[in-house]
């Protein structure tokens, strides 16, 4: 592998790790915000319609993001499977991708369940 290719692969790995971390944290925030709204919906003093609206805005934002995140996951997965990554970079990406995909699935399942509370 030429030094330029090696550098490109390193750069890809670095960017991919950064994106996986950033968006995994974003998914955590979406779930936390939605969970808070689910809790608040039990308080009869708060207008239900407002909470309902906020919940579905978050759910919709998360669904839109999830589609793009699946695309990201596929790209990273194909690089792990077929790319020219070094062993260490491949291993790190594999672990982070597995964790990220678990988080994505957990978030999708959370919203599927939470929606029934409204």
């Amino acid at each position: 592998m030429t030094p330029q290719r090696e550098n490109e692969e390193l750069q890809f790995a670095k960017t991919a790790v950064s994106l996986l971390k950033e968006y995994s944290a974003k998914l955590d925030r979406y779930r936390d915000e939605a969970q808070l709204l689910v809790e608040r919906s039990k308080d009869s003093r708060i207008p239900r319609q407002l909470i309902h609206q906020d919940f579905f805005i978050i759910k919709h934002s998360c669904e839109n993001l999830s589609r793009a995140l699946e695309h990201l996951a596929r790209q990273i997965s194909q690089r792990i499977e077929h790319g020219q990554l070094g062993d260490t970079e491949r291993l790190e990406l594999q672990i982070r991708l597995a964790d990220f995909e678990n988080n994505l699935l957990r978030t999708q399942e959370f919203f599927n369940l939470a929606v029934s509370k409204f």
Partner: protein, 283 residues
């Protein structure tokens, strides 16, 4: 349906298909509806659809579940499956098709349980899919592949060889569990993408029936005995499509002369083989 250069006379093929559409669809539906018997427990009804990434596992399952019509639906770009998928057979929803992801880096997470389930007799049959190395490349350029060293033709030749080696590795990983199955089980080796290797049919058949792959299949059969294991090979094209990477680069074209009629007949063979396997199960 897409076709490579020097392809068939599409007007004749399209006319034949249109003129005989009712018969073709009726035949496919008849075979499909006879496919899996009723009166079995859910576990006894499960069928595993497994193989390396990009060989057509999801397409096969969608065909069997009725989600995809090979005559009428235009194939979309390859999209890697991230999770284990489950489909229900269209004419018998009690039959579950299990499709684990095929990429090597995903197998540890999803295949271990699958392999244990094979050994525990929790599958009635396994559809093991290969495609003579023509594994679809997803969202990656071939120039980013570890085998690419500047020559596209050399790369593709090496890529096909590497992917065929992975097909054999998959069979090796399943062999000990198949040999341990406590109940009757069948294995259908489905070799897809015939439209891409059609001119090498004899070589392809020898590769799977007589080479290392075939010898391993024979050893699995010897381990279980013919009364408990039935093995079949089917060579087919579920869709007709040039080999194009996720980055839009065409690495291979469909072969001249491979037309809709050949494709339909190959899919019919697939259904007929599944039908025969069902009859064997009940014998």
């Amino acid at each position: 349906m897409a076709s490579g250069e020097g392809g068939p006379d599409w007007k004749d093929t399209a006319k034949w298909l249109w003129d005989n559409k009712d018969w073709v669809l009726a035949e496919l539906n008849r075979l499909r509806s006879k496919l899996f018997g009723k009166g079995k427990t859910p576990e006894e009804c499960r069928v595993l659809v497994i193989g390396p990434g990009g060989v057509g596992k999801t397409t096969t399952a969608r065909l069997l579940s009725g989600d995809f019509d090979s005559l009428l639906d235009i194939p979309g770009p390859y999209q890697e499956s991230l999770l284990l998928e489950s489909f229900a057979l269209r004419d018998d929803p009690g039959v579950e098709l299990i499709v684990p992801p095929g990429q090597a880096h995903r197998r540890d997470a999803t295949w271990t349980t699958i392999q244990s389930d094979i050994a525990a007799g929790k599958f009635r049959g396994v559809i093991l899919i290969s495609s003579f190395g023509f594994h679809s490349l997803g969202e990656i350029s071939y120039k980013q592949h570890r085998l690419y060293q500047g020559d596209p033709a050399k790369f593709f030749s090496e890529y096909l060889a590497e992917r065929r080696a992975d097909e054999l590795a998959v069979l090796k990983s399943l062999a000990p569990f198949l040999k341990s199955s406590p109940r009757k089980i069948w294995m259908l080796n489905l070799v897809t993408k015939q439209d891409l290797w059609w001119s090498q049919q004899a070589i392809v058949e020898r590769h799977y029936r007589e080479g290392d792959y075939g010898r391993l299949v024979t050893s699995i059969g010897a381990g279980l005995g013919h009364a408990n294991l039935r093995v079949e090979f089917v060579f087919a094209s579920l869709v007709i499509s040039n080999f194009v990477t996720g980055a839009g680069e065409q690495l291979a074209a469909t072969e001249g002369g491979y037309d809709g009629r050949l494709q339909v007949n190959s899919i019919k063979r697939f259904w007929e083989t599944l039908d025969a396997l069902q009859r064997w199960e009940e014998s």
